[in-house]
Assembly symmetry: C2
Amino acid sequence: MSTRVVAIVGAGLVGSGWAIVFARAGLTVRVYDPQPKIRDGFHAWAETSLKELEVASLVVNAADTLARLKVFDTLEEALEGATYIQESVFERVDVKTEACLAIDKAMDPSAMVGSSSSGIPASAFTQACVNRARFMINHPVNPPHLVPVVELVPAPWTDPDCVATVRELMKEVGQVPVSLTREVDGFVLNRLQGALLNEAWALYEEGYASIKDIDATVREGLGLRWSFMGPFETIDLNAPGGIADYAERLGPLYFGMGNGRMDHPWPHDVIARAEAERRLELPAGSLADRRAWRDGQLMKLAAFRQTHKPKRSPSS
Amino acid sequence: MSTRVVAIVGAGLVGSGWAIVFARAGLTVRVYDPQPKIRDGFHAWAETSLKELEVASLVVNAADTLARLKVFDTLEEALEGATYIQESVFERVDVKTEACLAIDKAMDPSAMVGSSSSGIPASAFTQACVNRARFMINHPVNPPHLVPVVELVPAPWTDPDCVATVRELMKEVGQVPVSLTREVDGFVLNRLQGALLNEAWALYEEGYASIKDIDATVREGLGLRWSFMGPFETIDLNAPGGIADYAERLGPLYFGMGNGRMDHPWPHDVIARAEAERRLELPAGSLADRRAWRDGQLMKLAAFRQTHKPKRSPSS
């Protein structure tokens, strides 16, 4: 890989996490955000975060990593010499379109651009770019430096070689890339999350279980397996003859369960009930603390996984 | 709790795990299986497993725990003095019906019975029992001594006091009980799993991504969050204003994604493709080894969670 300088466009939560991903892997990172407040706060945030990560053994040397991060006041400066650009501006088609057109104008034509969009396909906001063949979705989970998966989704006009190059770059910096062959709303991650959420809301709406107990079913059950095996590997190991054995026997049952459910969007009154139930569990004033707790848990989990790496199947 | 003696009926993988759950919590466990081969092998299996668990700090004293486990040659002997009975025979209505009728005949009328059924409701196989008010579903995840969640599902005729007592017993022995208000096929756990699987199969069928990459999306992304937060807590923390804020903004999007999908059962030819893809990844001859690896990972994860316990929200 010759991609030694990368640029971050949009340095909110997602973009900042991306900056750490690249810097801790040894790359030079040039950061830009249109908001001066975010630009001004970035260095202090990065310093604190990197120290925490160093304590958790997730960054080898915080000071060295910090030295590879630099904030610029203009997009043009930030893009100088960058062979890869990660765009993480606010997720709305008009905002993404404007940001991509500006990147398109300032980028080296040999650079590649990944967008952090979590569900809007690149074809919705890169059509008018001169270098549109070099734009794609590279969707992380928040925060990217603690959750490794990224989804690579090409627009119909994206050059497959660019996708392959970015896929290699992602592996190089320690992320786990998954590749979609073509666009679909929500990509894979949010479609899977949405399917589970739709069923969870339906069970709650119909009064089968509380929010708390539905959460516990995942947290103390399904989620444990899924944190080191995917859903297919889980069923592959859950029947004597493997996945086909499982699917032929249980597929009709699962299909039957899902059939005819969720024929309406999540209803407002059910959302209000859920909100009330969650606020009993966690007052609105504690949301911020609980988010910090979540990031701390992800950090501990990342450190744990570093020692007990969830391997792919033996042959791969 | 006065439940100091429990009985295990059916000592395959699930029943054996249950035996460990109760014995390591200090209860006396009387084990029965209709198959002499399983009865004969139980002690050696328990000894090995308990030693492994001791090494992983998941059992305080393997020898003491083993001493609390006893196998009996008849159902009647195993049920003597048992105030709680966990039924884990093969999951087919006729097999469950027969086992429950035998338990019903031999049990102390003040005892309670939980069935390990993973999806068939208790009303399908306990109707003819004299003590049917004392039967319910108590569905664990395999293996129960490493995955804490259990689903309590009453039949229409189950005495609510019995469910409450078993719920307390489950907490006492270190499991995490979730309560369903009434029966539904697949309960909560397998309905949630099924919803995600249906979407995963649809994405695979339509060629958006490989089995390997769909698995990675969960293993390296969604599953990490879900292993210490449920799906509702995840979205509660993922929008500035909490769950209602999230649901009102993203609900229609998620509903739209799911709408119209999976209008047919998992197709045979798609299952065959998935099987071929998995077998390239993991040859059939390695399935058993990989299952042992899975249980080892669950053991490490359980030990990790013991040190970094995923707390419920602060107020609970």
